[in-house]
């Protein structure tokens, strides 16, 4: 019993020093189970490779330069799409959030198009733009746009009216109220929107790459299927999860907390 408590205390202290450790430890049993099933030989190894095979393939693909290239392609597509989506989505969200007329006109249209998911656009996009970057960028921008717009509207509408009034009676013009009050007040929600948008965009990108692309992680996985390389498919899946975890837990979530919590806009 005492030993268990000692272990627990050691773990608590370690994770406080290296918080990343707390994210890794839960995967230990998952990987262990995977190894055990693979080692037991229930399934043929070509169908169900173990962790070691996947790690080996990881190093091989890095050595060949394929993985870094594909990963770079996917990330550039994601961030280009996200940047365009934000550049369109934040101003649109502010407009809808501040103007009652814009809200009345745009809101139904927005909800209508939100229902037509990213992949549902592919048939028409392939006819219009063909298999290429334009189609992929369209899908990413489209996917990122909605969470950014909807959360920006929410953020703008949640800024207390008295704040804008206070700024006006301290001499701010309506344009400065937008810059000094509306945007900072909506910022925590805008970041939430960005966080959701990137998450959806990342998934949409992989799907589109499978169909449209000749590079990228999605293409790598689909191409591996053609070659019957289960290892590379599993590797692709692991990279997707890992990369998103890093972007979300290490960049986006702290950013979200830093704005909202510091200002007392978000509790806990």
């Amino acid at each position: 019993m005492n030993i268990l408590l000692q272990c627990w205390s050691g773990y608590a202290r370690m994770t406080r020093r290296w918080p990343a450790l707390a994210a890794i430890v839960p995967f230990i049993p998952v990987v262990a189970l995977w190894s055990a099933v693979a080692a037991a030989g229930i399934f043929p190894r070509a169908f169900f490779p173990g962790p070691v095979d996947v790690v080996n393939s990881f190093f091989t693909l890095i050595y060949k330069g394929i993985l870094p290239d594909y990963l770079g392609d996917s990330l550039i597509r994601l961030f280009t799409g996200a940047a365009v989506g934000m550049a369109l989505g934040i101003p649109l969200g502010v407009l809808i959030g501040t103007s009652r007329w814009a809200h009345r006109i745009c809101w139904p249209i927005l909800l209508f198009f939100q229902a037509i998911g990213d992949i549902a656009w592919l048939p028409i996009l392939l006819i219009w733009f063909g298999f290429g970057l334009t189609t992929m960028t369209f899908v990413i921008v489209y996917t990122v746009l909605f969470p950014v717009v909807l959360n920006t509207v929410l953020g703008v509408e949640s800024v207390p009216r008295d704040l804008a009034r206070a700024a006006r009676s301290l001499g701010a013009s309506p344009a400065r109220v937008l810059w000094e009050v509306t945007l900072p007040g909506a910022l925590p929600n805008i970041i939430t929107g960005l966080r959701n948008g990137l998450g959806y965009g990342w998934r949409a990108l992989i799907a589109v790459e499978m169909i449209v692309s000749t590079s990228g992680i999605g293409f790598m996985m689909f191409d591996a299927r053609r070659a019957g390389s289960t290892v590379e498919i599993l590797l692709g899946m692991i990279i997707l999860g890992l990369l998103w975890y890093i972007v979300d837990a290490w960049i986006l979530a702290p950013l979200e907390r830093a704005t909202g919590q510091r200002w007392g806009l978000v509790t806990s």
Partner: protein, 252 residues
């Protein structure tokens, strides 16, 4: 002399659910002279906040006029500072930047507006809190910031909308005493809205009693200053005045 004057001020709403017009304020005429402290007191729904919102330029009026220094008022402007019941501090700005906001809007350079903000923070005994964020302060401290933020912009008239209604009773008394002290030092023109009769009498030179959108009566308060609660609670004149105003408000 910069006089705030309301002439036959009126506000009519159209209530779409009732399908009829509602007169929230009718025919209010009132002058507030420069350096005067006027309290407006009345039961809830008497139109006092509506009047303040019209003077501040937050909502339009439908009849009569509002003049400040002879010029008609239509929109919010820095010559009319407002202190809100909700404090309305900018949560993403430090206390210093909140107080320096008005000067910033006037284009005052950073160093100068920090100096102004520090001067006003010292006035409210808040120098130590300059670099904190509003949510790190108690309600009483937040409203001190709210008051000096409005004062730091050097407005012609200070409009206060039940500013102490959301702090606890002890803090409220302290804030009231501080406000009378600051008023004596700086002599700003103040229009103070409240539903609390003793607060209205304690602070003001003149108490205006409002009922159903009309001015019922006005009472001069010639109590000596500085005013502190420890003295006034025992003061017969204060008790008499409060009782008189209370009677009017209750009859209203």
């Amino acid at each position: 002399m910069k006089t705030l004057s309301l002439k036959n001020l009126a506000k009519t709403y159209f209530d779409p659910y009732a399908g009829s017009h509602v007169n929230a304020v009718h025919d209010v005429s009132l002058n507030v002279e420069q350096g005067e402290f006027v309290s407006v007191v009345g039961p809830s729904g008497c139109g006092k906040t509506t009047i303040l919102n019209m003077i501040a330029g937050f909502i339009p009026y439908t009849g009569g006029e509002i003049l400040l220094d002879g010029k008609p008022v239509r929109e919010p402007g820095p010559e009319r500072g407002v202190v809100f019941q909700s404090f309305a501090l900018f949560p993403w700005k430090t206390v210093l930047d909140n107080v320096g906001f008005g000067p910033k809007m006037r284009g005052v350079p950073k160093a100068e507006r920090d100096r102004i903000a520090r001067e006003y923070l010292a006035l409210a005994g808040l120098s130590h809190a300059a670099h904190r964020y509003p949510n790190e302060l108690s309600g009483g401290m937040q409203q001190r910031v709210g008051v000096v933020r409005a004062l730091a912009n050097n407005p012609d008239v200070l409009l206060m909308d039940e500013p102490f209604a959301s702090v606890d009773a002890q803090t409220r008394m302290t804030l009231q005493e501080e406000l009378t002290r600051i008023w004596q030092e700086r002599k700003p023109t103040v229009l103070f809205i409240t539903h609390d009769v003793s607060e209205a009498v304690f602070l003001a030179n003149r108490v205006v009693v409002l009922s159903k959108g009309r001015i019922l009566d006005q009472v001069e308060v010639d109590l000596p200053r500085p005013r502190v609660w420890d003295d006034l609670v025992k003061d017969d004149k204060f008790k008499q005045l409060s009782a008189r105003v209370l009677q009017m408000v209750r009859a209203a």
